[in-house]
Symmetry: D2
């Protein structure tokens, strides 16, 4: 995300004095609430969906993720790379290729 | 997210031949599943949580969001700014300041 | 649910002194966490799923729903019938038949 | 749930010819979507919530759980008791009393 987009999200919150509501727990709830709204785009069909609606709900998830990164003072690239280190070990290419099995069943 | 982190996520998927599983619907399911694991960090307490665990689960949400952006050919800044335009209209500063009411009750 | 099953769920909680954790908010979090574990059975395929796993996760959702009914002193049949009254009005047979459109688009 | 409530839920679906949409996967998605709407009642506050709204959303979760039980031909008491057997073993009273730790950390 570009720095100016990040700043816009921050300003949106501080302008409304909403930092008081943005506890980590409340933001975690918000992320799952928006993620479920995203899923609603695919509730009755996997294939027919309203792309504009998908964009809006995915954006909502991303905004709350950004809020949580900010609240906890986390660097997105740092935590994603830390987790990718873990994922690459849990799912070695030779075992995981072409299968959707969970790591504990590989 | 830095370009090299984005590339790492893409390579993780293609190396394992997992694009076949990454339909938009499956990725939407995955985002909500990981978001619920993030919420689990706060299941019984809002205040005491394992920050390392939070980082890992938030990273999982971000990785699947990135997968969905990629799958649909979306630009993160574009959809977030589009949604922020909407949010700023739905929640005018003078009405929304200091309250957590939903827009339809402001 | 049979009365003896309901009693068993209650006893499970009181024997462990877990009522202190069962605030309505924590139970709502728990329901969504278990619902996402249920969804995980269908994460990568709509058709191939482990029925035993589905049973276990659905049971978890039902147990936490029962806990929440208990915590709020609600009668399951009463709230379900109240909601069915609403659903039947929102989705009149002649308009809703055979379509998965949401009520506000019928 | 009383038999007549169960019958009402079934009739609601068949009258609208909605069985075609009620695949196990779609019902699992629906349960998590409604569970997240229930959680939304507690999004910004654990303590102040609209009880009528909670009732409606909890009822929605229960209705979709009933639909899934029906779809898979499951008996609610049977699967709940099967899971309670497992829970009682995973969380022995002497170890679990008064703590919200997960079973793998007891």
């Amino acid at each position: 995300m570009k720095q100016e987009t990040i700043e816009r999200i921050r300003r949106f919150t501080t302008d409304r004095d909403w930092d008081q509501f943005h506890s980590p727990a409340n933001l975690a709830k918000s992320i799952v609430i928006e993620a479920a709204e995203l899923l609603e785009c695919f509730q009755w069909s996997e294939d027919e969906y309203d792309e504009q609606h998908v964009k809006e709900e995915l954006a909502d998830v991303l905004v709350y993720c950004r809020d949580l990164l900010d609240r906890l003072g986390l660097d997105e690239d740092e935590i994603v790379n830390m987790k990718m280190d873990m994922n690459e070990k849990k799912y070695p290419v030779e075992k995981a290729r072409g299968t959707s099995e969970k790591y504990d069943r590989l």
